[in-house]
């Protein structure tokens, strides 16, 4: 009945639009007809209200709206377009919400409680993971025992789903850790402070959850926290565990599979019969721009393998996939690596969409927080997103050949940062900060190592508290609408997997 009403309304609106179209002088414009086509697609879209067999939560860490905009233009310009008109794969998803990312005690969030909110349904305390915000105290292990929350992974695993985690950061880093860990300090990746006898480090918690059958597959970096300090890994790096535990050995002896480079990754048996641990770097995996495909897999490679593995489970799966280093490149003030990792994230989402069906798989694409990144104006169409801002050409599509100059007579880049290592103000010998903008050239600013100019001098560029976007498709995706709290994401996932 509901569908019939919607269809009737859609027909009436389409007829009204058709009649208006005949009379408007702009009716022949490509912009107008494209707008009409989008309207028709929206009118014909029907929400999928059945139960979700699978849920994939894609998180590009630090990929707020401005960062995502930069990636969109970069991807478009790579494709030979002007850039602004480009549509990233997830931007074509039918449902969208804005997400408020603050932590219970922080206007500017960090990635631990934000990912925790998505995985438990409650906002959390700055720098903690999956502890009740009413009692958790950062860095106080005594506050853990009474406050541990139940994760979405634990809930769906009890219901028969397989669970996977993929990240280009260390697998013990905040966003992947929120799938399986509960800790008063996100930095307790490989050990806990003396006296914290009721606490476990994050790597140990992953192994515990793999042994318990909650987590079935984990791909990422962070090998160091799974090997003891006296063991050297395949790449010549030493482990960092002080308790002598060799979790890689223990994993393989217990019948699990382990991969540490491209060769062993490709040799994995993905039939879903054994747990799989892939640790492809000592620390974080390489930025996509620096990655050697012969050495380690891409985020898209890992996404495809994870879905291939998890899809063997008849009861479905939950998979969290993180592009962890969009965030790190922003912290570095290096827009080049931000957008090149952003493009790889988009490829991973496209792969996830291709390998699953809308009817039974809820796909959510979001970020945990934004950064202090900003876009300058007024740049003409097609100004290179990593380069200098060109002036708008009168009556033409593409920018003019004239660079826009600031009041100091110098050109400037399209992207800037409010703070960070690219600060124009540099420390002087007497400890004061001063400086002036350089006479920038296109060659200099498009170098892969270039740091965009920043205002406030800081060693590391910071997160910001502004909203991020969430794109969704599949069962119950229509429940993402308006401006929502970040912990609401869990509630839609949980409803989607249990809906009648």
């Amino acid at each position: 009945m509901q569908r019939m009403v919607l269809a009737t309304t859609a027909m009436a609106l389409t007829l009204a639009a058709a009649s208006a179209q005949d009379t408007l002088p702009q009716a022949g414009s490509q912009w107008y007809t494209d707008g009409e086509a989008t309207l028709a697609a929206m009118l014909s879209h029907q929400p999928i209200v059945g139960r979700a067999k699978n849920v994939i939560l894609f998180v590009a860490d630090g990929n707020g709206i401005a960062t995502n905009y930069a990636t969109r233009l970069y991807a478009g310009q790579l494709d030979g377009k002007l850039g602004e008109e480009h549509v990233l794969p997830y931007e074509a998803f039918p449902n969208l919400a804005l997400v408020k990312t603050y932590n219970v005690n922080a206007q500017t969030p960090d990635s631990a409680p934000t990912a925790g909110a998505m995985n438990t349904g409650v906002k959390q305390v700055f720098n903690t993971i999956n502890l009740a915000p009413e009692g958790a105290i950062h860095d106080d292990c005594a506050s853990e025992a009474a406050n541990r929350l139940k994760t979405f992974a634990e809930i769906v695993s009890e219901a028969g789903k397989a669970v996977g985690i993929v990240s280009t950061a260390r697998i013990t880093h905040a966003t992947p850790a929120a799938v399986y860990a509960k800790t008063a300090n996100r930095n307790w990746e490989g050990d806990v402070p003396e006296g914290c006898t009721d606490s476990k480090d994050i790597a140990t918690q992953l192994i515990d959850q793999m042994n318990a059958g909650v987590i079935d597959l984990a791909f990422g970096g962070g090998r160091r926290y799974f090997l003891p300090a006296d063991v050297t890994d395949g790449e010549g790096k030493k482990g960092r565990r002080k308790d002598g535990q060799n979790y890689v050995d223990a994993m393989t002896k217990a019948g699990g599979q382990y991969a540490w480079n491209t060769e062993t990754f490709k040799a994995l048996n993905l039939d879903g019969s054994t747990p799989v641990l892939g640790l492809f770097e000592d620390s974080h995996m390489k930025y996509e721009a620096d990655r050697d495909p012969a050495e380690e897999p891409s985020l898209e490679d890992m996404t495809r393998a994870a879905i291939s593995y998890l899809a063997n489970n008849e009861g479905g799966f939950y998979l969290e996939i993180e592009a962890g280093r969009v965030d790190h490149a922003n912290h570095d003030g290096n827009a080049y690596r931000t957008v090149t990792d952003g493009v790889e994230f988009a490829e991973a989402v496209a792969a996830g969409d291709e390998l699953t069906a809308d009817e039974d798989t809820l796909i959510i694409v979001t970020a945990d927080h934004e950064h202090a990144i900003a876009l300058n104006g007024y740049c003409g169409r097609g100004s290179p997103i990593l380069g200098l801002c060109y002036d708008v050409a009168k009556g033409q599509l593409k920018h003019s050949d004239e660079l826009v100059l600031a009041a100091d007579g110098k050109p400037y880049t399209v992207i800037g940062y409010l703070n960070g290592p690219g600060a124009v103000l540099k420390q002087q010998e007497d400890g004061t900060y001063s400086g002036e903008r350089a006479e920038l050239t296109q060659e200099e600013v498009t170098d892969p190592e270039y740091l965009q100019e920043a205002l406030i001098p800081m060693s590391s560029e910071s997160h910001s508290g502004e909203d991020v976007a969430l794109y969704a498709k599949g069962p119950m995706a229509h429940l993402f609408d308006g401006t929502v709290e970040q912990n609401y994401i869990f509630h839609v996932m949980n409803h989607a997997v249990s809906a009648d």
């Binding site: 620096d290 050495e295 965030d327 960070g420 290592p421 540099k426 190592e449 001098p457």
Partner: protein, 142 residues
């Protein structure tokens, strides 16, 4: 010329007398020394044992009054939300200077000139392990 520049200029004099201005055309970047798999580039292999000039950034030195610092390809941002302790990138260049270093802020570009040495070396004093170094080096702001 301010006092800092003068100091660096004086330090760099022996190298500069041969090599010219800091940002001369012969200056290479860190990425010119490494391939993606972190093996040494053809340029590095061809210039081992020769004096070369490399642009980069001085990582905050491990100790004062040292004749050693690490050159990084981008400013070494210390990110509390990325790392729980100091992390060195894989592609760094160890610099052994002629004179005690005068610290340059981590985000000011410098050009370092010195004798290119390839191969693993553990500094007996600091324990710092390096795969590639510039020895007998001097540096200046780019």
């Amino acid at each position: 010329m301010d006092r800092r520049q003068f100091t660096f200029g004086a330090l760099a004099m022996p190298a500069l007398s041969l090599a010219g201005p800091a940002a001369a055309a012969d200056t290479v970047r860190m990425r010119d020394l490494y391939n993606k798999d972190l093996s040494f580039s053809d340029y590095a292999e061809a210039h081992a044992g020769e004096r070369i000039a490399v642009a980069g950034f001085m990582a905050p030195p491990l100790k004062a009054e040292a004749t050693f610092f690490v050159l990084t390809k981008r400013p070494l941002a210390v990110c509390p939300f990325c790392e729980s302790e100091a992390e060195w990138p894989d592609d760094i260049l160890a610099i052994y200077t002629k004179r005690a270093i005068v610290v340059v802020p981590f985000n000011v570009r410098i050009v370092t000139r010195g004798m290119l040495e390839l191969g693993t070396f553990r500094d007996p004093e600091t324990g710092f392990l390096s795969r590639v170094r510039l020895a007998d080096a001097s540096y200046d702001r780019a």
